[in-house]
């Protein structure tokens, strides 16, 4: 089944743009079918029932029914491989 991945940052226009692209490429390289939705962290609630994963560059203050992965590695290049593995693992569940 196609996974729904949320990519969020505070404004929904800066860091999430970079992360969004990184995940799109990752899914393509690993033949993963995913619907990637880029949004503000404040918009996550609207997807709570339908998303499979949240990848974000901001702090999440509440618990979600899906895994939440910190995406700072895509911005700094530190720990990128670990983050990719984490995301792939979550998408293959």
């Amino acid at each position: 089944m196609k996974k729904r991945v949320l990519v969020a940052c505070g404004t929904g226009i800066a860091t999430s743009t970079v992360v969004n692209d990184a995940i799109e490429n990752m899914c393509e390289n690993h033949n993963i079918e995913a619907e990637i939705i880029q949004c503000k962290i404040s918009e996550i609630a609207g997807y709570e029932d339908s998303a499979d994963l949240l990848v974000t560059t901001t702090v999440t203050k509440k618990d979600y029914p899906f895994p939440v992965i910190n995406a700072r590695a895509f911005l700094t290049g530190i720990g990128t491989e670990e983050t990719e593995q984490e995301i792939l693992h979550a998408l293959k569940q």
């Binding site: 226009i13 800066a14 743009t17 970079v18 702090v59 700072r72 530190i78």
Partner: protein
């Protein structure tokens, strides 16, 4: 959508600031003085930094990428602040951890999807220790501006770039 404006007047070397707020205020005020952002940008960028920290530890000097919503922006632009002494910024995505930031890349962005390559190239600078050290230590606005334009793969045509 407009072109990214880069100018030497937006590179602030030896920026003295006691804390993140002061650094942001000085840089944002400079953008406002140059007519690139609305007055509301100044407080908006400070508030947003408090809510969503943008400090990023790197392999070289730590950076921060403060920014805010596009309604506060007149002209898409990028300002660099080289702090005289490192100032603690919250780390992006962390609850309360901070990082001593030496380089601030303040973004004023006006469009949601036009800036991917600019942002990616900016992130490439953050992943390049030598480039970060160059921006930190050069103290020559013309060289810093040229390096920034090169790094962002912009053509060199005065301040306006395409």
């Amino acid at each position: 959508m407009s072109d990214l404006y880069i100018d030497e007047t937006l590179i602030l070397n030896d920026l003295h600031a006691a804390d993140a707020d002061e650094a942001l205020r000085t840089m944002a005020l400079n953008l406002y003085d140059h007519g690139l952002v609305k007055e509301s940008y100044i407080q908006a960028v400070i508030n947003r930094e408090q809510e969503f920290a943008t400090g990023l530890p790197t392999k070289g000097p730590a950076v921060a990428i403060p920014h805010t919503n596009k309604e506060h922006v007149h002209q898409k632009t990028l300002s660099i602040g080289v702090l005289a002494t490192p100032v603690p910024f919250g780390i992006m995505g962390e609850e309360s951890e901070t990082v001593p930031v030496e380089l601030v890349f303040m973004l004023a962005m006006d469009d949601e999807h036009s800036q991917l390559s600019m942002l990616q190239q900016l992130m490439a600078i953050f992943q390049d220790e030598q480039q970060l050290s160059f921006f930190k230590n050069t103290n020559d606005k013309t060289k810093q501006k040229e390096a920034l334009i090169d790094a962002l793969s912009l053509s060199r045509q005065g301040g306006e770039t395409r």
